[in-house]
Symmetry: D2
Subunit: 326 residues, 4 copies
């Protein structure tokens, strides 16, 4: 156990970006997405094809209520059936009332609704206020900042408008020739590098690394413990490699990016090192199956990634409509 | 009054796209955003600058509860202060418990939250199920489809991954030399064309037309009846021009795109014609003030617009993180 | 199958109270709770002991998300940990600020929260707008009334202040000498009468009949399909007996009062007859285990029942803090 | 200012009940409601009339969003209009499908809904975890207990089944001969005693004192700053009298029971003394206008009060269906 803590502290020291972009920074590695990086991404648009990387937000999602996270609920404020059976005459004007009286049918009306959704319930970006270590968040802000009303520091709104960069796709399931990696399967630096080499790709500063395990495909619709249970994912030991390459973002098709059960005796150690210390943008529950099909078909594993989250002031994360543009 | 209804029906007939893309279509004018259009948009990226067009989603928004729409609420599932005062020991592992016992401080924990948000409460896209006319939605689907659990047709998720196109910015307030247009000020075809000509821009098939009235700037933080009251906006009479130019999307910095009070004796007639019949993507409550500043500075009023909404299954609209990429 | 429908229609005809209390009535059998009935109930108070019949409303409840019903969520608006770590200085006054500055500790603050709860998720009364039959609710109101914004007729608020009456407890599990009846076990008129006779009790006009199956005790904490699955409960064939005795309310410790699987080929036929036609107040998911213990101890199976629901305007049901006062 | 703090500390010392009912107590003065007290209350039932003291929970309530408190929202899970236009065939059985096919109309279906409601948004009891003083709640529990997931101590569920006692009604507005007291009007011990004497009533151990200012009647429907603004109410200086008489509960028709602006330089000092230290049950936003009318008519100002809150585990308060039974 002592060794686990020593290892973790070594990684923290090697991978930390605290202070690198100033004491007031809330962006972390998203700082690495420069205007030049956006231009580089735009140059990758060749066919004009767009592929969504976001799964539907609805009651069919993977959540079980664990950690208080339920699947998204959509409730109605005004409905089509209500309109058809006599509601919503309040938006009528005299002409339309006359019309209704002559035709026996109301003229116009609206459908409207409310969303109730844990920010971490589906495809999302973690914010840098999402994980604490020894009382602090990324860049040394106190965990005390993340209270009722939203976090006063490191909220997900800082990412808004800024995560548009080169996306590099590593389809580990395809590389291994399996439908899906298995729970507990750790993806190592060696495997990441072999996958990249196989596609003749290099990883560059400011890139978003998109990693597919196939685990969403394996569990879709019969989710079981997809949310929070054992899962394939990145090894903790990829943290220094991610930091050395100055990767801006990592996203996977699993609940928590990192392999579970955790490799050392600490809850989500990859998050502790990479999110809290490196300030890495972490994307979870991404739907990469359509992208996988497309890349197999055209052989192109890099693209413009447009994945700006909602400016939810002070939130721990945000749903995101992530799109690969090829 | 008879004339109002006759006018409306004439516009409906002239502007309708029902059936144009098949009986099963849920996309409307977003069909006009072709791969070529996406390539055209990407070619507009020159400096790599990105500008968010989305206002913060929080309690400071413009809603008053009218139509059941309140500002977004963010509630906490796990908090930093709670962690600091002894909660969340459940995520501890033996090593971390040992560490806490020796240091007197817990090791790691998380911040997590839930969003409760009317889909039309802030910057958003309307879905094609949002407005009914004579019992139907865009493309002839029955209003009966839009009931509890979400609309079975024309839900906003159909837009996901697809609204990435050339954005053309018309800053009417700048053109008029005012801070903001006034409530009731209608923007006409003539004025739109003069604004475009002044910037030597033409509008093309599949474009997103982004129109700034300055009304958000005038009301920000002291919203009064911004949501649903009198407002500047597009004239109903722009509808045929929008249809003839095959514009894919129109967004403004007002609550409802169209001028209010409505110009004829019908509630939101521009929506009835353009959304329900043309199948136009309509964006509301967009924050265009940063874009205005930027365009004044560099003189460039066209850009790549990336504005894919969340795949909220069956929803009447969706918050969107819209980004202008220049 | 034809017989099933014929039976149902016969029961509907025999048991209906439509029009009995006027065309504008929203109360149904709760009309039978007269001032004399309230006095009768109060006279049953002998020891002054009070026993809650309501189970906790929290994440530990029986719901699974079926029919959109989840367990109650409680979210915080202001928290104690937040206060202890520096939030909520906004409620400070100058004296208290001075005190904080001298003592290093804030003075006063508050804890506050929000409830998100399906009205049928725990111990509740059904409203008379909860079930439709052939397009109508109790007393002939159209199902069209029960739309967005709450039902315009038969809402649960009509019950508020009115369900205080004599409660008569029938502990069928005790009578059979079992811990719990089994799923599918139907409670018949004969068994109800034997239970009553065994305690020398008669049922009277305006009474609330409280029936315990033991099924909540059997499932508590490991709920499985308690909510909506097979369950013991009242036989459909008790409906005429309930109507003839002019019982005001029936409540049980099961999800849906009536035995499941349903005895005829119709979904919840007891509700169709008794709620929609008799206008009976139906209580579900009541926690009767404490009452059972108490009645076994003192041999007294009648009491003053105080069980007024919340005035949730237009709601399909309401949580209720039901109390037996002995 | 020093005097204000000294006064507050004197009252705290004189009025505290910490430890009186043991170190594990979560009930405070509700302990004073003994079985004998319940019997005394039941003996007050003479006519059998019941009067609700709870205002409707709906969008028409007094909240403005201040402190994050909005009016109750009711959202639909299944609707009557939806049923009439073709939804909910899922609950059909073969017989009913056959019936629908022959009659052209569906047979049965349901109306169902979800409540979203701040616990302090309408008529409610405060819980003893609602207010902190110097880091603690009633009985010395740490404010740290009141975090995410609900307070681990002093939650409102401890009151469930227990607030049934003698209610004594003091209609100060009637006594003064005004429609409503004015904001800032403090109700003193002297005035309370004169009101009681005028009705020949004495206050006794374990009573609930129900005080009407008329302020709800004055503001109903045009609430303005009713929620949190200046208001009439009990003087801080009534605290020792409340403690000396061992009153179990105090409720008023105002937002916060105590007069506002606060009489000393401390936020809600009556709460600090009476709720946090005396452990008094405090009821707010009670609707006492119907009771006022009734008492004027029959001259009876005492009754059985049945006001058990919902067992919302760990909540800061609870809506309550309070009923006066005369």
């Amino acid at each position: 156990m002592t060794d686990d803590l020593a290892l973790l502290e070594d990684y923290i020291q090697r991978c930390s970006n605290w202070g690198r972009w100033g004491a007031e920074d809330h962006l972390g590695t998203v700082n690495l997405i420069t205007p030049e990086k956006v231009r580089e991404a735009a140059r990758l648009v060749r066919t004009g094809k767009t592929i969504s990387l976001t799964m539907p937000y609805d009651e069919g999602g993977p959540q079980t209520g664990n950690l208080g996270r339920h699947n998204p609920h959509l409730y109605q404020l005004a409905s089509g059936p209500g309109y058809l059976t006599g509601e919503q005459q309040s938006v009528e004007t005299p002409t339309m009332t006359k019309w209704r009286e002559s035709s026996g049918q109301p003229a116009n009306a609206l459908y409207d609704d409310v969303l109730v959704m844990p920010t971490q319930s589906g495809t999302q970006w973690d914010a840098l206020c999402h994980i604490f270590w020894r009382g602090q968040m990324y860049n040394g802000y106190s965990a005390a900042d993340a209270g009722t009303g939203g976090s006063r520091t490191n909220g997900v709104q800082h990412y808004t408008g800024k995560i548009i960069t080169r996306g590099v796709f590593v389809d580990v399931a395809e590389h291994r020739g399996v439908d899906s990696l298995e729970p507990g399967d750790a993806i190592t630096v060696d495997e990441l590098e072999k996958c990249l080499a196989a596609k003749k790709l290099e990883i560059r500063t400011g890139d978003a690394l998109i990693v597919r395990t196939g685990f969403m495909a394996a569990r879709r619709g019969k989710w079981q413990d997809y949310a929070g249970g054992p899962a394939p994912g990145l090894s903790l030991h990829t943290a220094p490699w991610i930091r050395e390459h100055d990767i801006a973002a990592v996203a996977t098709d699993t609940w928590g990016v990192e392999v579970r059960p955790n490799e050392i005796d600490c809850w989500q150690p990859f998050h502790v090192v990479c999110l809290t210390h490196t300030g890495l943008a972490i994307g979870e529950i991404w739907d990469l199956d359509g992208l996988s099909e497309d890349c197999k078909a055209d052989g192109v594993y890099e693209f413009m990634l447009s994945a700006s989250p909602l400016p939810l002031t002070g939130a721990s994360g945000s749903p995101v409509s992530a799109v690969a543009i090829k």
